[in-house]
Symmetry: C3
Subunit: 142 residues, 3 copies
């Protein structure tokens, strides 16, 4: 459900950094949804192709998040989430002197499909099964 | 109008697969809009840069769709469309044992321009001309 | 706030073109917000991975814009903006015989963070400071 696209300066992360960061980001969502809902794409972009403020960006990370499974009910909830994410990424980003920017878009739940199935609604028995099995299966509710 | 971004494991598709898949996806939209509205970008992402559930993804395809020209009127319509897409991609994806995920976002019709023109509204004579000529030209209606 | 993702045929732009285009795009936003709000990612996509109308695209540029800081109040405002953008890019695109398409999505202001800070709301003293200093700092208003 969340799809993270992470544009980053080529030197920003090692392969090990990416693997650990991906696991830690997934941990943030895991209490609330199946782990396999979390997709993350890293894309290195060099300074000839990445600009901030009209200038080449050499030490920058841009996090683009698409949230599908859940909508934030209010700003308190969204700030709690964003603050948590900022904590999780800090050792990989700000603590290394990189600049970064995050934004989230929320897209329609019904316009979403995994392995041909429609993901279950929040709080259903189907969702509990998807979480327990960590794989998709037919949805039994409307 | 639809922009498809397809992140895929490097081995998932041959060049010929991509060309055929692009044509077949375009066929799904062609009865309803000019063929040149359909844009598709394939991006190979190796397992060091693609994560699902916090783990490296080796056999995964992530379809990100942005719909601009049309909005689904209801869930019945969107499910019919998504089911059709799942049929079209099946020979390239599920039948090969790949996992996949699709989601669609709908973005504002008025915030859209092709070759400097504003695309015509649905059902107009301008739209019929764009479809017949398969190229953009000035819009004559408000 | 605006994030521009520019998919382009590999031959479309030189490195110098990209740098000048990035600066000129940023100039369009600069009267209204801090320059560093403007992020731009260029991604070359060859004709084996870029399709328009179901066919390989050899001379095409696809501009994908995400607007976060501002929403257009009405269609007059959005058309004025899009017309301006079409003017700015013309020397790099249409005047060279390239085809192009632009669309904009507007995403929620509250779901946005830069260097761990929440960007200031429009018209605040915080915003004036961010613009004057061209860097983020703590927001002092709710």
């Amino acid at each position: 459900m969340p799809l993270w696209t992470i544009y980053h300066s080529p030197e920003a992360f090692s392969g090990d950094d990416k693997a650990r960061l991906a696991a830690e980001i997934t941990d943030v969502y895991a209490p609330f949804m199946p782990r396999f809902f979390v997709g993350i794409v890293f894309k290195a972009v060099d300074e000839k192709n990445l600009f901030v403020g009209g200038l080449p960006a050499k030490r920058f990370v841009r996090f683009v998040l698409e949230h599908i499974a859940r909508e934030f009910p209010d700003r308190k909830a969204s700030q709690r989430f964003i603050d948590r994410i900022n904590q999780v990424i800090a050792p990989y980003i700000g603590d290394r002197g990189l600049d970064w920017e995050i934004h989230i878009d929320e897209t329609p739940f019904d316009l979403w499909s995994i392995n041909g199935f429609y993901p279950p609604r929040q709080g259903t028995a189907d969702e509990a099964r998807w979480m327990a099995e960590n794989r998709p299966s037919p949805r039994t509710h409307e």
